[in-house]
């Protein structure tokens, strides 16, 4: 099994995550799309680790997971706070920072 299909799968997942980031209006689903992006990066890291016979890629995928967990805690806290104050998580209705 060569490296190519793994990288192609990772790129497809990244493109789908970007599409979700742009198309979705629900704040929580935007966070889920970010999870897809992080996971496609993890897949390419682990595939690279298998290609070069080095565990570093796996270690960095592990670090990526922990960073994703930290990001999720802060993102979900922000989403709850936003819902409590603006009564919505729709990015069309939350436009305080719109120029």
């Amino acid at each position: 099994m060569p490296l190519g299909p793994y990288f192609v799968l990772s790129a497809i997942l990244f493109a789908l995550g970007l599409a979700g980031l742009f198309l979705r209006r629900n704040l929580l689903l935007i966070l889920l799309s970010i999870e897809i992006l992080l996971n496609s990066a993890n897949l390419s890291l682990i595939a690279g680790s298998a290609r070069w016979g080095d565990l570093t890629g796996q270690v960095f995928a592990f670090f990526g997971m922990t960073i994703a967990a930290a990001e999720v805690t802060v993102g979900l806290a922000l989403a709850i706070l936003l819902f409590r104050n603006a009564n919505s998580v729709d990015t069309k209705e939350i436009e305080l920072l719109k120029g």
């Binding site: 099994m1 793994y6 198309l23 595939a47 592990f62 997971m65 960073i67 930290a70």
Partner: protein, 174 residues
């Protein structure tokens, strides 16, 4: 054998990611992401990374997605997601990303010799992974734990504060 397992699970991963983008109800999109996570864990197993695969299942399917499910159900926004069509004006943005990236992937796949080289996986068993992590990457590991601690502080501070958009106390403004 490896290709026999790779292509079905790659297809399932893409299916789940497509579900996250296109399913209308948030809970269903979340469950589609669970599908993606499990297929990715299988692919990690194929790449001889069993420890990372198990951590992936525990952290994502076990913790992160359940947390998302809690929040979605807590906020009661399960039935609130609007159609994608209302947001289709931005669809051209997705297209503008998708077409060049598909072209680049095709170029990479057709012309790069890297993509055809065989894999030589190094087994990431818990023992070898742990030894590697706690010798060469000990400092980043400790810094990551610090980052998680700060994340917990931030979540508590944000969730315990009542108001986000505070009105100023004094009536006179400049």
């Amino acid at each position: 054998m490896e290709a026999f397992l790779f292509y079905p699970f790659a297809f399932l991963a893409i299916l789940g990611a497509g579900g996250v983008v296109f399913l209308r109800k948030p809970v269903r999109a979340l469950l589609a992401l669970v599908l993606t996570m499990f297929s990715l864990a299988v692919l990690f197993f194929l790449l001889q990374a069993p420890f990372v695969a198990m951590v992936h299942i525990v952290v994502y399917a076990g913790a992160v997605l359940v947390l998302f499910l809690f929040v979605i159900m807590l906020l009661g926004i399960g039935a609130r997601e609007s159609r994608l069509g209302e947001n289709a004006r931005k669809g051209f943005l997705g297209l503008a990303f998708f077409v060049p990236s598909a072209f680049l992937i095709l170029l990479l796949y057709l012309f790069s010799p890297l993509t055809r080289e065989p894999l030589q996986p190094v087994p990431g068993s818990p023992e070898s992974f742990g030894k590697f992590l706690f010798t060469r990457y000990l400092l980043p590991f400790e810094l990551i734990s610090f980052l998680l601690l700060i994340g917990v502080f931030a979540a508590v501070a944000l969730a315990s504060s009542r108001t986000l958009f505070e009105e100023p106390e004094s009536p006179e403004r400049i």
